[in-house]
Amino acid sequence: METILSINNISKRYGKIQAVTGLSLEVQSGQVFGILGPNGSGKTTTLSIILELIKANTGSFKWFGEEPSKESRKRIGSVIESPNFFPYLSPVINLKIVADIKDLGYDDIDRVLELTGLYGRRNSRFKTFSFGMKQRLAIASALLGHPDVLILDEPTNGLDPQGIAQIRELILSIATEGTTIILASHLLDEVQKICSHVAVLDRGKKLFDGKVSEVLAISDSFELSSRDIEALKKIAAQHPAYQSQVPDNGNILVYFKDVVKAEELNQFFYQNGIILSHLSERKRTLEQHFLELLDDNK
């Protein structure tokens, strides 16, 4: 497997604000790599650094195993923050400018406009577009000429539910063609649905990275209740896989470190003299795990 992008210990400071701290990452060919973090966690700064819009204070990065250059950027299609086009030019002319810069012909323009549903409006001025259409044009521009890597910063931001579904479908279909995708998002659900790998950022630091499926495999929690709730709390804490508990609407919510089965748990409490009046498994979502990771970092 080819390493597409390797980031080595980059840091960036804006005055007093440390935007990125010692970040290292590797993205392999064919991955759909999610960069997940709340607003202000350094996602866009990181993407801006690897696209050479801003200079990192320390650290380095390589594209396709080589020092970054304008030639490596021509192989990357990117959507960063807002869609940046000339408002007084039509999408076709805006895309021709992109094609000129990337040394591409104009024959791919119709395809990307059709793919993003903008072909019918190809000769209207960009400023007459709705925000969703502008965002779709940014994606069309990124897709121009079948780039080796696609960088998407909050690609579904500002789109309606239908648009979000379309764009996600589009991203997934591009991923199946073998294009490497780097996707920054604050939406866990989005990363969960689209990405194969994820790195979680908070306040400029990488908290965690790995396969999305591994993140999701982390143990679940159970809602428990009994007539004697105090005794239940005590016994729960004695379980070998016990992690923590929180009150939850008259029940208690118990987290376990490992995978625990419901019948096993029921038996454990019965043997310890507790008759459960309520037992229900609660799958932990990526969201809960994410919030916990953020909490641990505080």
Partner: protein, 276 residues
């Protein structure tokens, strides 16, 4: 180079404001050229009302003096400001719409971006010079009685002077555009500098007590405007006995070019250093 110009063309081809300003510039320029004689004679008439011996009316559209006469009227501040504002708008737009970011993301280097704007300025200057040359030839041939090739070409060095003036004035505008990045601010400060700040500086530096050698003529805008100076209208020369410019001088042409080189250097340095 061709690729960069192709990109620049796409950026302006359907941009209405660009064409409106260019149109206005041509109208002002043509009006300036055609009205110059009328305005001068109007001035002469005014003077004549106070003079015992009236001055004759002047004609300015004859070879060889037409080269200097028209080059001068085509490079007064009020006319030059149009292409300068066009350049400021085209550059600051790139920052306002963040298209410079997008260009870099897509694989253009910052140096190429600066080069593309300089090429555009060069091209505009060449087109304007050709336009002016044609206007001079047409007006000159239709207003000069006795023609000889020598006479037609005698003062044609003023075309080069015009080219240097319009080129370096636009580079001054580019300097303001790249450094300030904001359209309104750049236009306001540029206009303020050209029409108010530098004339005031000029006035103070001109004072012989401070500087004996007329350092004021080396101020950026002044050095640009001095390339094609007030025409030596023979009548005025005789009456007032003042010594006026005869041809475009080498030194006066080089100074604005040095300013341009320094400003391009500063813009390049700032562009490389600043984040986009």
């Amino acid at each position: 180079m061709i690729k960069l110009l192709k990109i620049e063309f796409k950026k302006i081809l359907t941009y209405k404001i660009f064409w409106i300003l260019v149109g206005l510039y041509f109208i002002f320029l043509a009006a300036g050229i055609l009205m110059a004689e009328f305005m001068i004679n109007n001035m002469v008439d005014n003077m004549n009302s106070h003079l015992p011996i009236p001055l004759p009316h002047v004609t300015i559209y004859f070879f060889p003096w037409i080269w200097q006469n028209i080059a001068f009227f085509a490079t007064i501040r009020y006319v030059l400001i149009f292409p300068a504002i066009v350049i400021i708008i085209l550059i600051t737009n790139e920052f306002t719409f963040k298209t410079i970011r997008q260009n870099v993301i897509n694989g253009m280097s910052k140096a190429e971006f600066l080069t593309s704007k300089l090429l555009l300025i060069l091209l505009i200057s060449i087109i304007m010079t050709i336009f002016l040359t044609l206007a001079i030839l047409i007006l000159g041939f239709s207003n000069t009685a006795d023609l000889s090739l020598e006479m037609v070409l005698e003062k044609s060095s003023f075309v080069i002077g015009f080219f240097i003036t319009i080129l370096s004035f636009q580079i001054l505008a580019l300097f303001f555009g790249f450094l300030l990045r904001n359209t309104g601010l750049a236009i306001a400060l540029f206009t303020l500098y050209v029409f108010i700040v530098e004339p005031i500086l000029y006035y103070f530096l001109k004072s012989p007590i401070v500087f004996k050698n007329g350092i004021s003529t080396y101020l950026p805008v002044n050095s640009v405007l001095r390339v094609t100076e007030y025409p030596a209208i023979q009548v005025l020369k005789q009456v007032m006995g003042i010594n006026l410019q005869d041809s475009v001088g080498l030194l006066t042409s080089v100074i604005p070019l040095i300013y341009s080189a320094v400003m391009i250097g500063i813009v390049y340095w700032v562009l490389m250093k600043r984040d986009l």
